[in-house]
Amino acid sequence: MNHDSERSGLRCDGWSRRDFLHLGVISGLGFSLADLFRCTAGADQSPTGQDLSCILIWLDGGPSHLEMFDPKPEAPLEIRGEFNAIGTRVDGIQICEHLPRTAGMMREIALIRSLTHELGNHDTGSHYLLTGHRPAPAVPYPSLGSVMAREAGLLKAIPPYIAIPDAVPAAGAGYLSGAFAPFAAGGDATKASNKVRDLDLPSGITFDRMARRRSMQQQLDAFSRQVEESAATRSRDAFYEQAYRLMTSSEAKAAFDLGREPQSIRARYGGQRIGTGCLLARRLIEAGARFVTVVDHGWDMHQQIFKAMPDAFFQGSGKLPALDMAYAALLGDLKERGLLDTTLVVMMGEFGRTPKINNAAGRDHWPRAGSVLFSGGGVRGGQLIGATDAHGETPAERPVRPEDIAYSILKLLGVDPDKEYMAPNGRPLKIVAGGSFIRELV
């Protein structure tokens, strides 16, 4: 290979795709990338010795535990609401009648009914659940996804931490480097025109032309020794390298393209945002992403909850049928592909909702009780963990704190939650403080 002589010589054009792909390799960036991201060592192994990934389905706004996974059919009407409970594949576990597909997957699911905390507004509650820490004015904590990205490293063409379509504020890198912030898949995957931000070549620029630009960029850096090599230049070069790898990895790029998915599979997940989001998450995990958050907005149902849940605009168009389809399809699809053992699927929101129905036929914020679902990733399915009291007001047994959820997610993923990071105020902070592993999960 004599690319070096070509680069320092006078070649101006005509780089082939293959040359382009080689450029990164011969430029020695492979080394610096590993150098920069060497924090991977020993950090990304789960107890089972396999690389585990996580899909977090984030039900933004606070999903009602009573209308979903913790029905109270015995309670008075103003508590139990309008929906009936149905049985599931597991004896003794009942969930809402609008979640029949999920009921069919219950053997794969560990259902925690006793999540409890005190932070009843959206920002603080989301922060608590997504980071495992109560928010503090001085320290922005990293989200679990950013912790995973930091521990897994940035070695693959696909970014380690991706948010669909975009991260909620508390799902960011916190005090960690911005390199570990979620990469936002962006847009609306239900639309054919959906594009991931800045992933495609600019309009009018062909692949060959981008390859030429890339070689000109390297030529310029080779000509000019003005900027001494340093950690900062190496990290910058590494990010360019990662960008080009992502752009040129047809596999990685294809992972973002739902158009490649057969119609039957798309239909199985359902056509709403949550469905396409879950399908996209599965594709990204298959392509090597380690933590994918699917954000589903609209669970803050202060009014008309019994309409919004099942029907919304027309019969069956509400949140529950769409979620039911997407979630069950995701678990089923992962299982059929043999990916469920290595993919932890967690579903939760920032809190539950008030057991007593309000005057607007809705429910308000209720952090004292909520449900969290764990599946895959070595979790023992088909079980209940914890329970609320007769009216779903507060845990009657086995209360579970947000710290415990965060601790357990990381532990299951093979990340040591007791490890310490140095926070910007100079204080070593445990990734998760004060939580413990929910032993029933495994």
């Binding site: 054009d13 922005p140 800045d198 992933l199 032309r209 000509f223 230049t233 752009m247 100079g426 070593p428």
Partner: protein
Amino acid sequence: MRLALMVWIALVGPGLAQSNTLPSSQPHPPPEIQSQPSPGFSFATRILPILTHAGCNAGACHGAATGQGGFKLSLLGYDPESDYQAITRELGGRRVELGAPDRSLILRKPTRQLDHEGGRRIQLDSEAYRDLLAWIQAGTPYGSRNLRVIRIKVSPAELLLLKRGQSYPLQVHAYLSDGSVEDVTGQTLYSSYDDGLVEVDRAGVITARRPGVTAVMIRYLGQVAAVRAGAPYQDREHSFRTPPAANFIDELTQAEWRRLRLTASSPADVTTLFRRLHLDIAGRLPTPAEIRQFQAQPSRERSRGQATVVDQLLGSPDFVDFWTAKLGDWLLLNSKKLGDRGARSYHEWLRRQVAGNVGLDRVAYELLTAQGEATENGPVNFHRFASDPRDQSEFVGQALLGTRVACARCHNHPFDRWTMEDYHRFAAYFARTGFDKDRLVQRPTGEVQHPKTGKDLDPRPLGGLDQTAEPSADRRVALARWVIAPDNPFFARAMVNRVWKELMGRGLVEPADDLRPSNPASIPGLLDALAARFVEDGYDLRRLIRLIASSSTYALSSQANAVNRLDDRYFSRSYPKPLSAQVLADAIAQATGVPDEFPGYTVGTRAVTLLDPQVPSYSLDVYGRCPRTTPCDPAVTPGGGLAQALHLVNGPAINAKAPATIERLMKQTTTDRARVEELYLRVVGRPPTNRELRHWEQCLSRAASKQDELEDLLWALLNSREFAFNH
């Protein structure tokens, strides 16, 4: 003087005599300190240090907030009385068994005679074991309740070893309140800031691992100190030429380079320096016209022109915009918390202070004592960082004093001298400040309590004396007076260190807002001298910047030589700085001639003049602008990584601008040579070299489309390393 205490150690044995003997400063042993052990006994000064040294009460072990395995000790032994209770009274007294002292858990666990999750911490036949055993045999006396350590002394105070691989033992003496002095070398905690550079073992023996100097933190019973230790950058004595000293900065840096045998880089070429000054002082690139005009001067003028350029830039409105934004970053000015009107009044006020060259002492005073409506009186917003006085005082400590007190909220600070009482007394300054809607109100009452005793605490400055003030007085005034007093140990240093970092790419103290005795400056004398001059100069920001930017140290090249390649803290070369988010966006707009648009602002508004990070801009987000929720360190948040690279490669930031830029360029110029030259001047602030010119001319002559080829060149220049850094 501090530097005079540096000890040269030559441990060259007779058989190892080398030709490269040391210069005149032959080793002289540290002055002998006579130990005069205290006749009194005290659990706190005899037993606790053993446990601390063994690691029992470390944060990861029994010193954790929740303890470990049901046994909780105070972090590093700051609360001897509760530790005494935990050891002698809890668990039914099984931790110490007076009837069979060697059966005590406190002995059997750390020696691993019983299973111990923390492993073996104490050897069976060690002095520590014997001391603990003797204490239990004596009936676990508590001893004196008043005996305490007043200070520690470490010798040598600085340690420069002859070469890497050499070792030297430190000695630590504790001075107790009864006048006694004890050698506590064996019970002290040592930790190196950079153990790749200097290692220190548990006995306090320092070994140099590679050239360079770092600090070793030393802790004993709540007292902290640091020793700068290491080896010179080369084994041989060397001589090198340094540029003439422009001011005392150069004298102090050059003295340090000689001591560490660092060969400084040569001066940067004048065009590079011209660009550097523009980016550092005015936050923008020089224009091609400015560069051409500068280059047209006779060469002697140009090299003398450093001070002239500095003065021109300090007098420009760009300076005011840029440094107002920096102050906004330091003070976390953010409309998300302050509301739009509050943030605007704050921003405008800050801008007036910078424009009017108001001394930073005055600025701090106004901030600390502001009254009235936040929407009208800008500095009132300073008090809206947090409603809890403790949170607010942590913010004030970090923003104005460069000091992180947060650790001392729940336990005595493990790296600094602050106790919980110091912390809560400092917080008490803000206990009576509150808000009624947007109006700051001083309440007649309001206290901060010590979390352990529950007692109200009177305010007291950090490390200062009790202040007497009328009970009705605004507590903040006393604090403000203390902050801006010429002998305040924090404020001037914190400001000087920040400004130094902005210009030099690294603070003399790092992290820049973490000044404490256990974290010394890389050149301590320089920080002292700069702070003293800053106070003398009336806390004048412009004069401080002029002083630094006119030094020959500032003007060094960023190109390393064989010796100073590893220097990352003595400024023997210029450290390249990545362009900050706003400067990068503005530089792209300026170089392409195509302005940005920000919602709510007129087209062409520069990003550095935007109010705060709430102004929506995807570009600025991915370039990593400071979110102003927490102090930003540009060195650790270099931007959005992958998203930024993708944005610059594929996004509209460059691609949407390049065609228009080149179309205009094609009309304005007629030759390829002129076009390439113009693009180089615009983007990287220098003309192309002959080699570069030849190369791109040749490419252009062969190109199918000159427009495309030039767009590609512009794109590549804007994605080049040279553009991305201020070097």
